[in-house]
């Protein structure tokens, strides 16, 4: 955990201590304590609350949502952090595990554009449109394109993860760096995928997007999380913010609750939505696991982090229609690891037009890049400010190619770095998309090491992103429900 104390109070984040006890209303015992309110934690809490379990959700930040978050700035600016787009599957997930009202706010993006030295075009980001482009613009045989899509769609979970994205691309489109860029760049931004990652992880997410394109929420992240809190309360989930969980308690190989604010909240089961490595190595502690498992967890690689630049447009100014999502790069050739370069040449712009928040006339632009923790981690204060300023300047220069007068329209500009993401979510190294493939197993099998202890959240590439995290919340809920019912039955049997 970082040295800095975590006090969150909007513009005074990190500076002012709290004076009230955030757990004053908490009971001493629950069926389940959920640590963290990312989309996996929220969804699991909602599903399990609706099944009748007594659930408490503890979040260290004052906002719920984890990476699915937003912030406000003076001048009426609202910035969304991770609302760039998700696959259509989110509609079903929201309808089923949240509410039809939430699901009804999901709409398809109107525009997605690529602009780089190898190609420039608009796309619907669907299998149909990609097939057309690959055949007519890139000159690939239709049968090859069909075979590629079918191969990816046919991959499943049990397939050999040694087939990498790079292998797969080389088989279908050998030597076609431009096609590799088209296929991987957007997914690399969505979940940190690289050429070295398993084709299966890439294939699942890519196929999800390709089925119907890219979707977003009308109303913004703030509306969504507000509605989710309402649902959670309806389902009896008790919500606590500003609560840093310090330990998960384990007695005789069973999870028995958590320690937070000097209190021991007891629970029959604990579900951690915190980073998987942190959950095992810090919140529980390696002493509670076998040496082999600890080695496995220590070897789990994290995904990359991010930088963002938030550009707030002055009230009364309008950004002309360009597109919703713009993948742009100045790099001549595609190189997946270069997407993380310190001050690299590739970024995405999300344009937030007033349609995003109906009733508001405001425009905002958010630029995102992938980034490596190590480039930002050890900068001293002065260098850190200098590098942030450099990031902002480079971003504005790029943006001027599309919005020439952006500097005169912007009245708030601010940058976030891997340090920002680490500070707000406590993901090790500010990881934006959890872990690489090998993080899936320890996460899925946690309960076989410590009874009653579960994990859900971005791991294994496939469980990251809004849809992946929310669905993983449901998958874990199924296990927790089974566990709690059996525990209740055993307890009843014991009394009889």
């Amino acid at each position: 955990m970082s040295e800095q104390r975590r006090y969150f109070r909007g513009s005074t984040d990190g500076k002012k201590p709290r004076c009230t006890d955030p757990l004053a209303q908490a009971r001493g015992e629950y069926d389940l304590v959920v640590i963290g309110s990312g989309l996996a934690g929220l969804t699991a809490a909602n599903v399990l609350g609706s099944m009748g379990h007594r659930v408490a959700l503890l979040e260290q930040h004052y906002n719920f949502g984890g990476m699915a978050t937003w912030f406000k700035r003076r001048g009426g600016h609202v910035f969304d952090i991770s609302l760039h787009g998700f696959p259509v599957g989110m509609v079903k997930t929201c309808r089923r595990y949240w509410s039809s009202e939430i699901a009804s706010r999901i709409v398809r993006l109107d525009g997605i554009r690529f602009d780089n030295p190898q190609f420039t075009f608009d796309t619907t980001f669907t299998r149909e449109d990609f097939t057309e482009k690959l055949v007519t613009q890139f000159g690939v045989a239709r049968s090859t394109v069909e075979a590629f899509f079918d191969y990816l769609r046919g991959l499943n979970y049990y397939d050999d993860p040694r087939d990498t994205v790079g292998d797969c691309f080389e088989r279908f489109f050998p030597g076609r760096n431009d096609i590799h860029r088209l296929l991987l760049e957007p997914i690399a931004y969505a979940n940190g995928s690289t050429m070295e990652d398993p084709a299966i992880a890439y294939g699942i997410v890519f196929s999800n997007f390709m089925s119907k394109g890219v979707y977003t929420f009308t109303g913004g992240t703030d509306w969504l999380i507000g509605k989710m809190k309402e649902e959670l309360r309806k389902n009896g989930v008790e919500l606590f913010n500003n609560v840093q969980v310090e330990r998960i308690t384990v007695e005789h190989g069973r999870a028995t609750g958590v320690i937070a604010h000097g209190r021991h909240l007891r629970a029959r089961a604990v579900l951690s939505n915190a980073n998987i490595r942190r959950t095992i190595l810090e919140l529980v502690g390696p002493e509670h696991f076998g040496a082999e498992f600890v080695r496995e967890v220590e070897a789990v690689r994290l995904n990359n982090s991010s930088t963002q630049v938030y550009i707030g447009i002055r009230e009364g100014c309008a950004v002309p229609w360009i597109t919703d999502l713009l993948f742009t790069s100045r790099r001549e050739r595609f190189d997946s690891s270069a997407l993380c370069d310190f001050h690299g040449q590739s970024r995405t712009f999300s344009f937030y037009y007033p349609k995003v928040r109906p009733g508001s006339a405001r425009h905002a632009i958010v630029s995102s890049t992938n980034a490596n923790w190590k480039d930002w981690a050890s900068l001293d204060a002065a260098s850190y400010e200098r590098e942030k300023a450099r990031l902002i300047e480079a971003t504005l220069v790029e943006l001027e190619r599309y919005v020439p007068n952006v500097r005169s329209m912007a009245d708030h500009v601010e940058a976030a770095t891997p340090r920002t993401f680490e500070f707000y979510t406590q993901h090790v190294q500010g990881a934006s998309f959890g872990t690489k493939w090998e993080g899936l197993r320890p996460s899925m099998e946690l309960a076989s090491h410590i009874e009653g202890l579960f994990h859900s959240g971005s791991v294994g590439i496939i469980m990251s992103g809004w849809l992946g995290a929310a669905n993983y919340g449901v998958i874990t809920s199924n296990k927790v429900d089974l566990f709690l019912r059996e525990a209740a039955r055993a307890a009843a049997g014991g009394r009889a």
Binding site: T93, V474, D481, L482, R485
Partner: protein, 92 residues
């Protein structure tokens, strides 16, 4: 529940999960996912509903047994024998 009722019980669960699907003409011996759009999350929902409505546990290694309606009848028959049908969506 008898065999016919088990089929109704499953269709009732599916109709809450996939409300837009036409379930009247589902064949008993063809994989469900070849007849209607059901993904792995949908199967998980079926399993969770079975537990919620009837207290029936289907461990992960048995999920394959639920691939067809016929499979459901055979696998769930003994488990549901003493339970009575719960309907939420279908009208009979």
């Amino acid at each position: 529940m008898n065999r016919e009722e088990i089929v109704i019980a499953i269709k009732d669960i599916i109709s809450t999960i996939a409300p837009d699907e036409e379930l009247g003409s589902l064949a008993l011996d063809v994989r469900l996912r070849d007849q209607i759009e059901l993904d792995s999350m949908d199967f998980l929902d079926i399993v969770m509903e079975l537990r919620k409505r009837y207290g029936v546990q289907v461990p992960e290694e048995d999920y394959m047994q639920l691939a067809t309606l016929q499979g459901c009848v055979e696998y769930l028959g003994p488990k549901l024998e003493s339970k009575s049908l719960v309907l939420t969506a279908l009208k009979v």
